[in-house]
């Protein structure tokens, strides 16, 4: 093991923060549906990847600006989220069965992606790719910086909405005790539909960020599950800010592990953090 230089360490820490922001962004929608609707939506990852491929298709084949694709992707995945929620609600699935059913949905999405775009690696070459800011000796890549800003804005925005609006209060009341909230006149299924639509749109946004910064291949869907769930559990179910904070902590830990050991050891980090958390604070999750 060699000790990396200060600049290298700072550069790795910076990339850790950036990837952590994406963990948080992916975890945002996942944690909200889990905590508030008691649905563990693995299809969130499928949606994000589908959005990433759509963004790739529109941007690199049809020449649309990647950010402009959001105008199509957000409403599209809002509808997808609503449709999924409608299906799960219709059959009254338990949390565990929601995990299984959305696992199935994800497998279908993976197969569809593989069918359309093949299993080859795809990389979006946009106007943003390769653009960097230089601050001192550190390079700040623009796509990753945009991801961080998007994650910050959305997490804080939803946090404020949950906390200060009537709609947010109604959501939290439903999560705490649905029958009681219903007795006070809160329409459960309308709120559930709205929330799952928002979470679907969040998956779409995360997908665009994914396409901006990463090389895509269908089987990568599953590689994100473990670490994003770790961020959600560390951050707290149903919390809007938690996943981002936890995601950045995980991203930083991974980056430091990569700087000191080997990059291929990174997948162990989030799992270790999760196990340590479970052993130290079992009541949390």
């Amino acid at each position: 093991m060699t000790f990396p230089s200060a600049t290298l360490l700072a550069q790795s820490a910076l990339s850790g923060v950036f990837i952590g922001a994406l963990y948080g962004l992916l975890g945002l929608g996942l944690g909200l549906t889990w905590g508030l609707l008691h649905i563990i939506n693995l299809a969130h990852f499928g949606f994000a990847f589908l959005a990433a491929y759509l963004c790739y298709q529109l941007a690199s084949v049809h020449g649309v600006d990647p950010l402009a694709t959001l105008a199509l992707i957000m409403p599209l995945f809002f509808v997808a989220g609503v449709a999924l929620q409608f299906l799960l609600e219709r059959f009254r699935v338990s949390p565990l069965n929601s995990l299984l059913a959305t696992f199935g949905v994800t497998a279908i999405i993976e197969a569809a992606i593989q069918g359309v775009w093949t299993a080859d690696f795809r990389k979006l070459e946009s106007v943003y790719a390769g653009q960097k800011l230089q601050i001192g000796e550190l390079f700040v890549p623009i796509p990753e910086l945009m991801t961080l800003l998007v994650a910050l804005v959305l997490s804080f925005g939803l946090w404020a909405a949950m906390r200060y609006t009537d709609l947010g209060r109604a959501m939290r009341a439903l999560a705490a005790d649905a029958p009681m909230a219903a007795a006070f006149g809160i329409n459960r299924s309308a709120h559930a539909i709205l929330l799952s639509g928002v979470c679907g749109a969040l998956a779409g946004i995360a997908g665009v960020c994914l396409a901006l910064g990463f090389t895509l291949t269908p089987s990568q869907i599953y590689a994100w599950i473990g670490v994003v769930f770790a961020a959600v559990m560390l951050g707290g179910l149903g919390s809007a800010l938690g996943p981002l904070v936890a995601g950045i902590i995980i991203g930083l830990s991974e980056a430091i592990t990569m700087a000191f050991a080997s990059p291929s050891w990174a997948p162990i980090v989030s799992f270790t953090l999760l196990i340590v958390l479970l052993l130290l604070r079992p009541a949390r999750t």
């Binding site: 299906l87 291929s264 079992p282």
Partner: protein, 592 residues
């Protein structure tokens, strides 16, 4: 002796299948059936923990992969004879599973969903370790040079024989477990883990055992598969296919029956073969996904359980008819023979406490439910526990039975401090309880609900004896004829009496009753009062929490009044109730 028909069918089926490789058929048949057996092993072994107990593992690929790489390293790199590597594959997979389980199951909050995700993560962690260490290192491991023992005329036939033997053994193990006390306990854990623990099931140990067995079988399947495919890679081994497929197979076939996963595995393997040509794995994945979604939504309990339900309905008498019959017959139930020849003789020794609680404290965050309770319960007495709502009565029962662990204080039962014992050990030592809101195991029959405590409680019967005994306890509590009904079909009165039958079947020395009478009609209360008296007369010490004053005065030798987590008064019922401070605690201060 009755012929065990499923067993005969299994043995006959395996014997017929054993002949196949010796018939000189094209190798295709051997290899296709090998694949069927391979998936039967993986799905059936997965089901032992996940189907029976409801802890869905997505880590079966990790345990399978541990077996693959154990054999790959031993046979491919160390030149250990192939067959010798299989026990090693089982041990490595089981050790990994038990190590993981020992951490994960220790956390009380790690219920189903979290367990599923953690086991999924293990798959990728293991993959990372295998890729980064000399176990694989990246390029994969070739096993084409490994000598294959000649168990049949051809190589494919030899693999066929190995997979058949393993599949047969796995199905037998799954069946044996389902019919054993372990199986009954796992089904109880599925329905209500905390209640199972309080009734004497060592839930932690049993979950670990089931996980270990499940992983060991998957490990052996991995070991055979490694040599069968003759070249293994980390990405090809540790992926999402194995967990996805076994979950689908088991759910489709039915997770509550030993044969369900085997049925599902056969169906899906054939479906995948028929619907996909060799290089269309993509369509196969989509089909598996679609079938999984439909199975979860439309058939959440599987093909087999739907079939079994229909059979049970045809066989059993509907609960409503039994109710009518029970109402017509004059009821003068006799205590089961077990009650007459009690092991613990009634001493009525009023100087020797059976249970003494000293300084018991329990807080929930800021709420101090018990603030130092001192209490003695004497052998053979009926002690009534009273107090206004929130005074700590139920918490006291929960702390004595081990449902909650006391923050401080000692609880001495029959000479031993049980304050820090796990709940199942307390049950085994002779304390049984009922729940204020009945918590029957919803998917077990009424009789199995009762048999469970007869097995795991103080009575410690074998599973066969427990079933007969359970029937007699149901008669004693006037629930005869309802043996094969599910608890969901009972009315409130019957559900409360089922709680009682369960507690009694444990043959407790101390019985804790938490508001068994609430919600019953006056006639039903009189019946229950008679029942409790008979229980005491047979030698069981009773502590009961109650609001029904009539029952308290009729039954209790002594009463204890709790208020705000402390003992306010104790003594004879009439004397205690006459005290001013007791009246104030119940009715508030007079302002007149």
């Amino acid at each position: 002796m009755r012929v065990d028909r499923p067993l005969v069918a299994l043995v006959a089926g395996a014997a017929v299948l054993f002949v196949v490789p010796f018939l000189g058929l094209p190798a295709f048949y051997d290899s296709f059936l090998y694949l069927v057996f391979h998936w039967i092993v993986l799905a059936t072994s997965w089901n032992i923990l996940s189907g029976y107990s409801g802890y869905f593992s997505f880590g079966h690929g990790a345990f399978f992969g541990a077996g693959v790489y154990t054999t790959a390293v031993l046979a491919g790199k160390q030149d250990v004879p192939f067959l010798y590597t299989l026990p090693a594959a089982a041990v490595v997979a089981a050790a990994l599973a038990v190590g993981l389980g020992a951490i994960v199951f220790r956390v009380r909050s790690v219920r189903g969903e979290l367990f599923a995700l953690l086991t999924l993560a293990v798959t990728f962690v293991l993959s990372t370790i295998v890729l980064n260490t000399p176990i694989d290192g990246g390029p994969g491991v070739y096993l084409s040079a490994v000598a294959i023992p000649k168990l049949a005329p051809t190589v494919s036939g030899s693999f066929y024989v190995m997979a058949l033997v393993l599949a047969f053994a796995t199905v037998l193990v799954a069946r044996g477990i389902q019919r054993s006390r372990l199986g009954l306990a796992l089904f109880a854990i599925h329905d209500d883990e905390d209640a199972a623990e309080v009734m004497g099931v060592p839930t932690y140990r049993y979950k670990l055992t089931a996980l270990g067995v499940s992983a060991a079988l998957a490990g052996v399947a991995g070991g055979i598969q490694a040599v069968f495919v003759s070249y293994v890679t980390a990405n090809g081994t540790f992926n999402i296919t194995v967990p996805l497929t076994v979950v689908l197979m088991s759910i489709l076939g039915g997770t509550r029956h030993w044969a369900g996963p085997a049925l599902g595995a056969t169906a899906i393997t054939i479906l995948l073969y028929v619907s996909t040509a060799a290089d269309q794995a993509v369509a196969g994945k989509a089909i598996v996904g679609a079938v999984l979604v439909m199975a979860v939504l439309l058939l959440p309990e599987g093909i087999l359980s739907r079939f079994e339900r229909r059979q049970a309905r045809a066989k059993g008498t509907p609960a409503a008819i039994v109710h009518a019959m029970a109402g017509a017959a004059s009821s003068s139930p006799h205590a089961p023979a077990e009650l007459a020849n009690v092991r613990h003789t009634v001493s009525n020794d009023s100087t020797k406490p059976l249970l003494s609680v000293r300084g018991a404290q329990k807080s929930f965050h800021a709420l101090r439910a018990l603030q130092g309770v001192d209490l003695d319960v004497f052998e053979g007495e009926i002690l009534g526990v009273l107090g206004p709502n929130g005074s700590g009565k139920s918490t006291l029962i929960n702390v004595i039975s081990g449902h909650y662990r006391a923050d401080a204080g000692t609880i001495v039962f029959a000479g031993e401090n049980i304050a820090r014992w796990p709940a199942h050990r307390i049950a085994r030592a002779g304390i049984a309880r009922t729940y204020q809101i009945p918590r029957p195991f919803a998917h077990l029959t009424v009789r199995d609900n009762v048999a469970l405590t007869a097995i795991f409680g103080n009575a410690a019967l074998s599973r066969d004896t427990a079933r007969d005994t359970a029937h007699r306890w149901l008669e004693f509590t006037e629930l005869s004829g309802l043996d094969h009904v599910r608890p969901g079909d009972l009315n409130l009165h019957e559900t409360k009496f089922l709680e009682l039958a369960r507690a009694l079947a444990a043959r407790p020395r101390l019985l804790l009753l938490d508001e068994v009478l609430s919600g019953l009609t006056p006639t039903e209360i009189d019946e229950a009062v008679g029942l409790i008296r008979r229980i005491r007369d047979a030698g069981t010490t009773v502590v009961f929490v109650e609001h029904v004053m009539r029952a308290i005065t009729a039954l209790s030798d002594r009463i204890v009044v709790l208020d705000q987590g402390r003992v306010l008064a104790h003594g004879k019922a009439a004397e205690v109730m006459a005290r001013d401070d007791v009246a104030v605690a119940y009715l508030g201060t007079a302002h007149a």
